[in-house]
């Protein structure tokens, strides 16, 4: 298992699951918060990845 993207997605999934369950009591709210966190983590990784693409200048 050496795919960077797969590991990134797996890590984001596990971390967002724990945070969502910690922060919310209601299962629907947990699902919504977890989905938002997961997409935020993965999305931010892609955005920063592309922003750093031209570096070093």
């Amino acid at each position: 298992m050496t795919s960077h993207v797969l590991l990134l997605v797996l890590f984001s999934l596990l971390v967002s699951t724990v945070f969502a369950v910690l922060m919310r009591d209601d299962p629907r709210a947990q699902l919504r918060t977890g989905a938002m966190m997961f997409s935020g983590l993965v999305g931010a990784a892609f955005v920063f990845g592309w922003l750093m693409y031209p570096l070093p200048l």
């Binding site: 298992m1 050496t2 590991l7 890590f11 971390v15 699951t17 724990v18 369950v21 910690l22 009591d25």
Partner: protein, 136 residues
């Protein structure tokens, strides 16, 4: 009438100091055990599944369970984070797992999974403490 379960609605009575310590100890030793003790079964089962899985993935990725080398402050911090997972950490140490293969492509990923699993369990312990104190 709202169906949402708020912290105010679910507030419970504060536990005795001895019980508080035992809840925290249980939560440290086995991720989710503190929540199970306090009757938060849904949360407990999620923590019991996710945190050890994260730790196991870290080991599979050839991450290192850091020792307490006081000459290396960052290694000590990583060791403190690793120890957060309690019995899985102890079992891995006793089994000689988590030696870490620096040359492995996934070494840093493994460390990340191991360290974050331990740190997340510290948050879970704090949450169990809050629940036991009656704050949640």
């Amino acid at each position: 009438m709202s169906l949402k379960s708020t912290t105010a609605e679910r507030a419970r009575e504060e536990s005795e100091p001895g019980t508080l310590a035992l809840v925290c100890l249980a939560a440290w030793a086995l991720p989710g055990a503190g929540h199970l003790w306090l009757g938060r079964r849904q949360k407990a089962f999620v923590f019991m599944a996710v945190l050890p899985i994260m730790f196991a993935i870290g080991l599979m990725l050839q991450g290192r369970i850091f020792p307490f080398e006081f000459g290396e402050p960052l290694v000590v911090l990583a060791a403190v984070a690793d120890i957060g997972l309690g019995l899985p950490w102890l079992a891995a140490r006793l089994a000689g797992a988590g030696q870490g293969t620096v040359t492995a492509v996934t070494y840093e990923y493994g460390n990340c999974f191991l360290i974050v699993a331990g740190l997340l369990n510290f948050l879970v312990i704090l949450d169990a403490f809050d629940v036991a104190k009656g704050r949640k």
